[in-house]
Structure formats: structure tokens, C-alpha cells
């Protein structure tokens, strides 16, 4: 991981120690050097503290199973292999659970982008009487955490034949991604000057044509952010998968790993548990490395921009 989170551009930079024109800007260089060293020291300690458990988990997952299960005295990292992963796939059948997880996460992410983009496009460029009410309704979803309506939701989805179905759980994730997604995409569309859309309309382009050929480049960052958070939300989801998927062949990876950990597959193989945990980390780390700046944008926009 060589990338790093870049701070958003600032007008000025007070934060590199003293302000540029501060009265005491010409402090002795010795104390400045001491500060630099101190900063590097604290920064290294903090970074190691946060990264170490992750690296440790990866190393640990490569240990032979009997060492992971064994007492503290017998720890070594000399005999590393992929055995736990191979065992998890061959003996537990993790391949299909990974596939289920990926299907749900990708399906939920793609559909979230499509549905929130269309809704936001309508709200900004094709408003009608009552469209604001619709927006309010979507935002109200945020006041109802899905956990709090889990039981009626389960009964309803059961009645509709949406439990024990990958499509069903995708729809579930899609619904509860809407408030964040619509809000974010609405901001993306709102920033595009009206003249751009107006000009395209005068040229006779239809709504979808305008969306795909004129507006697309301007809303891609928002769409990537929606995709990212929808994917990660579904990938890491535990309670939803636990509730709505009861047939073993439909389990997602987290539910399968929980079953390994709680002994549903016989004796608890801790090697498999830690290998499963590391497999759960992988897509998150890959996405993090690939589209890091979208994280910060999405978080700050979602949480703070009033």
C-alpha cells in the first residue's frame, strides 16, 4: 500500500506547524528539527498500532492449524503455507460462499448506482409536483434502521418469496442504500450548470441520451462512491445474510465463517476461521488501494454536508 489519503486542498496551511505569517515563524531550527523527529516517532507508533493487527492476521492465517490451536509457547512463523485456505475451500466449500458474497455485493452495488442515479436525475432535472415529497420519503428511510424492522421485514420478504434468495437479499441491500446514494447523486447532478442540460435539450436529445452522453463524465465520481459503499456494505453485512438466508448453499462468507467458528461443521478449526477473516479483508483492501480518494469524499459528504 503506497498510496496515502490526501487532504482536500486548503486555502492556506496553518497546520504545518506555525502559520505562514505568524509572529514567531522564525523560531530556532533546532526546535523545528526536534518537532519533525517527534512527529515521525509518534506517527510511526500510531501507524504500527493500527496496521499490526491486520498484518498479524495475514501471517497467522498462513500458520499450520495445530500451531494456531496450540498453546502460546509453541508459536513460530517458520512453517508458512496456504493450507488453511485450501482446507477452507475443499473441506468447507468456501468457494460457493465467496461466490454468493460477491454476487450479492456486486449486484447490490450495480443496482444501487442505477436506481440512485435515475432518482437523483429526476429530482434535479425533471422535478414534478410531489417529487420533493418522494425525496423526503427516501430520506426518512434513514430514520428507520433496518435492524429495528427486521422481524416484520423478514415476514414480508418470506411472504413474497424473497427469503432464501440472492435476489431477495440484493433488493434488501439496495433499499437501505437508497438514502445515502440518492442524496449523494442529487448533489452531483445539482452541481452541473443548468445551461448544459438546456443546450442538449434544445439539440433534441432525450433524457437518457443527455444522461449518457452529456452528463456521464460529471457524475462518475458520485457513482463510484455509491458503488464503493454499496459493495462494502453488502460484503461485510452479517445480520442481513444471517436472517434472510437459511439454506446452507446460499450462505455468504461471513455466515459460513461464523458457522466454522461456532462449531457447526464439527470441531472448531481456528485455522479456517482466520483464513476466512483474511479472505473477507481482501476485496476491501483492493478497493481501498484502487479508489482511495472516493472514501474520504463519500464519508465527508454523507456525514457532514448539510
Amino acid at each position: 500500500m503506497t498510496t496515502s489519503i490526501q487532504a482536500p486542498p486548503r486555502v492556506t496551511s496553518r497546520l504545518a506547524g506555525t502559520p505562514p505569517n505568524a509572529p514567531h515563524a522564525k523560531k530556532a531550527t533546532a526546535s523545528a528539527r526536534f518537532r519533525t523527529v517527534l512527529y515521525a516517532l509518534i506517527g510511526t507508533v500510531v501507524s504500527v498500532l493500527f496496521v499490526a493487527p491486520v498484518l498479524w492476521s495475514v501471517l497467522r492465517s498462513l500458520q499450520p492449524g495445530d500451531q494456531i490451536a496450540g498453546p502460546a509457547a509453541g508459536q513460530s512463523f517458520t512453517d508458512l503455507s496456504l493450507d488453511n485456505y485450501i482446507g477452507l475451500i475443499n473441506n468447507i466449500g468456501a468457494g460457493s460462499y465467496i461466490w454468493n458474497s460477491l454476487t450479492i455485493a456486486l449486484g447490490s452495488a450495480v443496482l444501487s448506482v442505477v436506481v440512485t442515479t435515475l432518482a437523483a436525475y429526476a429530482l434535479v432535472n425533471y422535478p414534478f409536483r410531489g417529487s420533493n415529497l418522494a425525496f423526503a420519503l427516501i430520506l426518512l428511510t434513514m430514520m428507520v434502521p433496518f435492524q429495528a424492522i427486521l422481524t416484520p421485514l423478514f415476514l414480508e420478504m418470506n411472504a413474497l418469496g424473497l427469503t432464501d434468495s440472492l435476489a431477495g437479499i440484493i433488493v434488501f441491500h439496495l433499499t437501505f442504500n437508497l438514502p445515502f446514494g440518492v442524496f449523494l447523486m442529487r448533489n452531483s447532478f445539482a452541481q452541473i450548470p443548468a445551461e448544459v442540460v438546456e443546450a442538449a435539450r434544445i439539440d433534441g436529445a432525450g433524457p437518457l441520451r443527455i444522461l449518457f452522453s452529456v452528463l456521464r463524465p460529471m457524475i462518475v465520481p458520485g457513482a463510484v462512491t455509491v458503488f464503493l459503499f454499496a459493495f462494502l456494505g453488502a460484503w461485510g453485512d452479517f445480520i442481513g445474510a444471517l436472517t434472510f438466508l437459511t439454506r446452507q448453499e446460499l450462505f455468504t462468507l461471513p455466515v459460513a465463517v461464523e458457522n466454522v467458528a461456532s462449531g457447526a461443521f464439527g470441531t472448531v478449526n481456528y485455522g479456517y476461521v482466520i483464513a476466512g477473516a483474511v479472505l473477507l479483508m481482501l476485496p476491501c483492501l483492493i478497493l481501498y488501494a484502487a479508489v482511495q480518494r472516493y472514501y474520504v469524499r463519500g464519508l465527508v459528504a454523507g456525514a457532514v454536508k448539510g
Partner: protein
């Protein structure tokens, strides 16, 4: 991920005013909004209304449904395990939010500068947040085991504990570990939010504070903290909502045990519905959660609208 936004109907400065819509444009808009509205109506509004009905029955997951009025609510009122779980969850919310904001603030102070390496520290701190609580909960059950877990190995080798300790077999120590895990996972988020707040504070304020003779810490408390009130309020509410709904890490790590020592409200509701199959009763209990969560979200909207 839970985020929140204030509800606005008026276009703000910089947004375009809505055009006069022709009838055809209205239909286009309706068609494009339909999927989102339909999903919310079917999977949010309907279950919410349906919940009222269910909570007034004995609705077992399997078998005959009987209407029994407010009996569930009467039972809930006297259910000591339930109120115990509410108290436990609120306590967990207070402790984990306070710790999370403290840690996040200190980290934000560290990484808000443009010094070399600040970006790398941000990346490192953000890593656990990206990975998420589910995966790290599995790591936790492995490493919190007595003797063979990393935590015990570390403490035994450092001579802090004399003998292997079963951390998860004691309610207090299990809670402490789960709180620490939550702080570890959530620190990156809190840090990023507070950092973006800190970076929006104009330099002039610090310069004038400095001319008035305020030192570094004084500047922090007299300038930064008051200006970050909104951010701090927001993070407090979000932390509370997250903690009230805490489920995954407790389900995986302790299962609510030993006994009911670490039983969160969500865990209890889940067990009632899908363990004891008492869907009616579980739904009645959920209402308490809905009321608390909705109340907190309202506060959150309030905080966000104070500009």
C-alpha cells in the same frame, strides 16, 4: 454504512432553480423516481406499518397467529432481561462513543498537518475501518482465547498477567475488549470527519489567538473545539445510533454471554424472533429500538441544520 442528511426542499445557493416542467417532463421524472420510491414503500413503509399489527399478536414463526392486544407490551415492561439489555446497550453506547471521539480527535490533531508522512498515518489509521467489524470480529475470537490467543501471549510474555486468562468468560473484560475493538475499527472514520472540520477553520482565527498570547492547547480549546461543536455533536449521535444497533461483534465474539452479561438489545430481539420464534414479542421490543433510533436521528438532523 449509516449516514445522514438534513432534508431540504429549497434549492440552495449554487443549485439551479427548478425549470418549469412540461407534462411530458413530469412523466419522465416520475418514471425515473419510481423504482426508488417503490422500494422504500414496499420494504420500509409496509414493514413499519405491518410491525404495529404483528406486535399486537402472539405471531409465532410457525403455527397459529392469535391477536392478543397489548399483552406483548405488558410482558416487555416486566421483562427484566430486556431492560437489562437496554441498560447494557446504553452504557456501551456512552463508553464507546466517548472513547471513539477522544481517540478520533487526538488522531485528527496528529494528521491534520501537511507534514511529510501525515498522509501515510491517515492511511494506516483508516485501514481497520475499511476492513470492517465483521472480519475483525473473527480475528478477535481467535486472539482473545486464553493461552493460544495473541492477547494472552503478549500479556504473559510481558509478565503483565501471571497465568492464561479467559477474557471472554467475564462480562466486564469481554465488554472492555469489544469497546476497544470498536474504537480500533471506528477511529479512522471519526478522524477523517474531524480532520475535514479542522481544515475548514480559517487561519486568521489562530493568528489572532496567537497574537492575544494563547498557547497551542489554549488555541485548541478556545478556537478549534467550539468551532467543531457541530461535528462533535454529529459524531456523538452517529456513535450512539451505531452502538444502540450493535449486533455483529457481540453475536460473533460473545453471543451475549457469559449468561446475559453482554446481551445487547438487538441481540435479545434477534434471539427472541429467530431463536425462540416469538416474532410478535420481538417486534414489540423492536419498537423501543425504533423510537430510540428515530429520536437520535431527529437530533442528528437538528445538529446538521445548525449552520
Amino acid at each position: 454504512m449509516k449516514t445522514a442528511t438534513p432534508y431540504q426542499t429549497q434549492p440552495r445557493a449554487g443549485e439551479k432553480a427548478p425549470r418549469r416542467a412540461s407534462r411530458r417532463d413530469s412523466y419522465t421524472g416520475m418514471l425515473m423516481l419510481a423504482p426508488a420510491v417503490l422500494l422504500v414503500a414496499v420494504f420500509v413503509i409496509v414493514p413499519l406499518v405491518f410491525a404495529v399489527v404483528i406486535s399486537l399478536t402472539n405471531w409465532p414463526l410457525v403455527g397459529e397467529v392469535e391477536f392478543n392486544g397489548i399483552e406483548n407490551y405488558v410482558t416487555a415492561f416486566a421483562d427484566t432481561v430486556f431492560w437489562g439489555s437496554i441498560l447494557y446497550t446504553l452504557g456501551f453506547a456512552v463508553i464507546s462513543t466517548a472513547l471513539g471521539i477522544t481517540v478520533g480527535y487526538l488522531l485528527a490533531m496528529l494528521v491534520r498537518s501537511n507534514r511529510r508522512g501525515a498522509g501515510l498515518i491517515r492511511t494506516a489509521v483508516f485501514l481497520p475501518y475499511v476492513i470492517g467489524i465483521t472480519s475483525l470480529s473473527f480475528v478477535a475470537i481467535l486472539e482473545f482465547r486464553p493461552d493460544s490467543g495473541a492477547l494472552d501471549q503478549l500479556l504473559l510474555n510481558l509478565g503483565i498477567t501471571p497465568a492464561p486468562t479467559a477474557w471472554l468468560l467475564d462480562g466486564t473484560s469481554a465488554t472492555v475488549l469489544i469497546v476497544l475493538l470498536g474504537a480500533y475499527v471506528g477511529a479512522g472514520f471519526t478522524m477523517i470527519i474531524l480532520m475535514s472540520g479542522m481544515q475548514s477553520i480559517p487561519d486568521e482565527l489562530y493568528e489572532s489567538a496567537q497574537i492575544d498570547g494563547a498557547g497551542r492547547w489554549k488555541q485548541e480549546f478556545l478556537v478549534t473545539v467550539p468551532l467543531l461543536k457541530r461535528y462533535l455533536g454529529l459524531l456523538t449521535v452517529m456513535g450512539f445510533i451505531g452502538a444502540i444497533l450493535a449486533f455483529t461483534q457481540f453475536f460473533i465474539i460473545t453471543g451475549g454471554g457469559p449468561g446475559t452479561d453482554t446481551l445487547t438489545t438487538m441481540l435479545y430481539v434477534y434471539n427472541k424472533a429467530f431463536g425462540d420464534l416469538q416474532v410478535g414479542y420481538a417486534t414489540a421490543l423492536s419498537f423501543v429500538v425504533v423510537v430510540i433510533a428515530a429520536g437520535l436521528t431527529l437530533i442528528q438532523f437538528r445538529v446538521m441544520r445548525e449552520d
